[in-house]
């Protein structure tokens, strides 16, 4: 916040910083940011819910993000999503009950030439096959 001189327009930048430090944005964090930047709480909350990148829930220990861009979709990303949902027993955007694995989808990570792409804790893995993805999930589950 200080870097941007507590400017109101730096709301999104500040929220990015908070999220990268804590992993998600809880009510206290949003309240604090809104008060510090003198932005109405409604606006801060509106911004957080508008953009997909911000998360209101804490992520699991590991995150499996499946790219759902067009190139990945054509190459079968929907099947990967279905397989992962079945294995973890959660739908996309949720975390398993034990808090170990979050399953997310992304809008396109820009690695379309290697479609279908998944991100394992932020690491890009291209040309992903269903069984390779499930192996990774299995490794995380038994950790």
């Amino acid at each position: 916040m200080r870097k941007n001189g507590f400017a109101r327009y730096a709301l999104i930048e500040t929220l990015h910083t908070v999220q990268s430090s804590f992993g998600f944005l809880d009510d206290d964090a949003i309240r604090f940011v809104a008060r510090s930047l003198r932005v109405p709480l409604s606006q801060a909350y509106g911004v957080v819910t508008f953009y997909h990148y911000f998360s209101l829930k804490p992520p699991g220990k590991h995150t499996m993000t499946i790219c759902s861009g067009t190139a990945c979709y054509i190459k079968g990303a929907d099947k990967l999503v279905a397989a992962a949902e079945k294995r973890l027993g959660v739908t996309c955007g949720q975390t398993t009950k034990d808090g170990k694995i979050s399953l997310m989808t992304a809008r396109c990570v820009g690695a379309c030439s290697r479609a279908p792409v998944v991100l394992c804790d932020g690491e890009v893995a291209g040309e992903m096959a269903g069984d390779r993805m499930l192996e990774q999930l299995e490794r995380w589950a038994v950790e």
Partner: protein, 554 residues
């Protein structure tokens, strides 16, 4: 910084490079680095150090044919190696000065022959984190030329002569846009670079920002000089952390060299650039929504006029161009507008970068002159659809574009020709589909995308896309009727005509274009209850009453 100093730096870098007998360039773009090109680079460096040969190992931006990655190019011979891993490092280094390693050599002459590189001329040749590498390849020469030898009007004149059109997809003449902002009244003006590459399936802006970040900054600075702006913003998606890091480094280095900041090149011109992060909203590619996002608000578009050229960021005249548009500016100023206008087709000049993906042999980035036939891009450059399948259609323009069927492969790629075919140029994603893709399902995928990405401000887009999605889902799972199809067509027209911004106005395009060329697939789903491509999971028709088309209201 003067032109002489710039030439001095260029010369010293060239002398430095000349000390080495060989240059080994390793592609570090996302596609290659996800396959371990960092390990490869380290192994090559180690092998080079122990071999006693004088070798420069350099990390570079995207070389193009990503499907053959990780890629290594050895200069001066320009030998390209594909699918290299760290185990091959010794073999490559020991082959220097002798004949190249035959098993790794890549035969992609056809792939490169048809391409003309303007935007990507530096990609694969410079280290994107070194400003001196860029300067050694005539970097920032155009900026200094504009500042010292040209007036702002002359710069705009050159851009107008070049007939460059906006590369973000709309194709608005860049010279005209610059002229409008230059004429707008205001003591403070802004220049914005739109790097919110939301179009899924396109990644050329990412590659340019990661592989040649100074090119974008130089283009912005020239634009700022031409329109009289003193502050610039680069709006980048938060999903591209590498691009953000590279741009941050590039801006810092440019400031140190005095190429950004106050009194650039000893003139009265002041200009500085800041990075703004997007946060995952497709609609922020729309210029008024992008401005709202930079101001720290929700990215909702607003009606135009007033256009941003008159009242944009914080109510000031604002110039917004796409990354690729800015990347074209420096070569135009360096070589003159006429040089650029000599390339391309009659009404679309220059070159265009496409991200070739989907069911095709050589995926990756290609840069081709406008007017090239689609068939040449897909069959010659892309190597065609992998064996055993037949080519069905190519999707251009992302969720706002359309599908062009195999019969129309002989049209030339230009803004107008693609528009006439029911698609758009878009930012340059080209997704190839073969006989295993169901066109109805593809249309549903795009509508689903537009439905979730709709900002919700105007009703045609918010509720219309949701209804279209319901109808398409019904058709996909076999419970659709011919009435549904008529309703769908009707709805497409309404959403297209009445939506507020580009997202809604173009959202029906994928449906309309698939209906135009693949109507029989829709009929197959509705009447014969079968999916020709075998993608859709068609159940036995459910009773009509349980599925009223107006059940879901957004």
């Amino acid at each position: 910084m003067t032109i002489e100093e710039l030439e001095q730096i260029a010369k010293s870098v060239q002398q430095e490079n000349a000390k080495y007998e060989y240059e080994v360039n390793v592609c570090m773009d996302l596609a290659c680095s996800s396959q371990g090109s960092e390990r490869l680079r380290a192994a090559l460096q180690k092998a080079a150090d122990s071999s006693g040969k004088s070798v420069l190992v350099r990390r570079t931006g995207c070389m193009g044919p990503c499907s053959s990655g990780p890629l290594v190019r050895v200069d001066p011979e320009e030998t390209l190696y594909h699918h290299v891993d760290s185990g091959h490092a010794e073999a490559i280094v020991s082959s220097l000065g002798a004949s190249p390693v035959p098993t790794l050599q890549c035969d992609l002459n056809e792939h490169f022959e048809k391409q003309v590189r303007v935007v990507l001329e530096n990609a694969g040749h410079i280290d994107p984190e070194k400003i001196d590498d860029y300067i050694a390849r005539d970097g920032y020469l155009a900026l200094l030329k504009a500042l010292t030898e040209m007036t702002p009007n002359e710069v705009i004149q050159q851009i107008t002569v070049s007939a460059l059109r906006g590369r973000g997809g709309g194709g608005y003449p860049t010279g005209l846009k610059w002229g409008t902002v230059a004429k707008a009244v205001g003591d403070l003006k802004y220049v914005i670079c739109n790097g919110d590459e939301g179009d899924p399936g396109a990644f050329m802006d990412r590659s340019v920002m990661e592989g040649d970040p100074h090119r974008v900054i130089e283009g912005m600075a020239i634009a700022a000089f031409a329109v009289g702006a003193s502050k610039g913003f680069v709006y980048v998606r938060a999903e591209y952390p590498v691009a953000v890091a590279r741009l941050t480094t590039a801006i810092r280095d440019a400031r140190r060299r005095g190429l950004l900041g106050n009194n650039i090149c000893g003139t009265t011109f002041n200009f500085d650039v800041e990075i703004r992060l997007g946060a995952g909203a497709f609609v922020c590619g729309e210029e008024t929504a992008l401005i709202a996002s930079i101001e720290g608000r929700r990215g909702s578009p607003r009606p135009r006029p007033p256009y941003p050229a008159v009242s944009g960021l914080w109510g000031r005249p604002t110039l917004i161009n796409n990354v690729e548009t800015y990347a074209n500016i420096a070569p135009i100023i360096r070589n003159g507008g006429q040089w650029f206008a000599n390339m391309g087709s009659e009404r679309s000049k220059g070159t265009k970068v496409f991200a070739l993906t989907g069911k095709i042999s050589h995926t990756g980035l290609v840069e081709v002159p406008m007017g090239i036939k689609l068939r040449e891009i897909i069959e010659t450059i892309g190597g065609g659809v992998p064996a055993g399948h037949t080519f069905k259609a190519v999707q251009t323009g992302g969720p706002s574009g359309g599908c062009i069927p195999a019969e129309m492969m002989d049209i030339g790629v230009s803004y107008d020709a693609l528009m006439a075919a029911g698609s758009i140029m878009g930012s340059g994603g080209m997704i190839v589909m073969d006989d295993t893709s169901c066109m109805v399902n593809v249309a549903r995928f795009f509508i689903e995308f537009c439905m979730t990405e709709s900002c919700g401000k105007c009703i045609p887009c918010r509720a219309g896309t949701a209804q279209m999605h319901t109808l398409l889902t019904r058709i996909c799972n076999g419970s659709g009727t011919m009435d549904d199809l008529d309703l769908l067509i009707d709805l497409c027209a309404t959403v297209k005509e009445t939506s507020l911004c580009g997202l809604g106005q173009t959202a029906p395009n994928p449906v309309l274009s698939t209906l135009k060329y693949f109507r029989n697939e829709y009929i197959d789903h509705i009447v014969h209850k079968r999916c020709p491509a075998g993608v859709c999971d068609i159940q036995t028709p459910a009773p009509e009453s349980s599925n009223s088309p107006f059940e879901v209201l957004a």
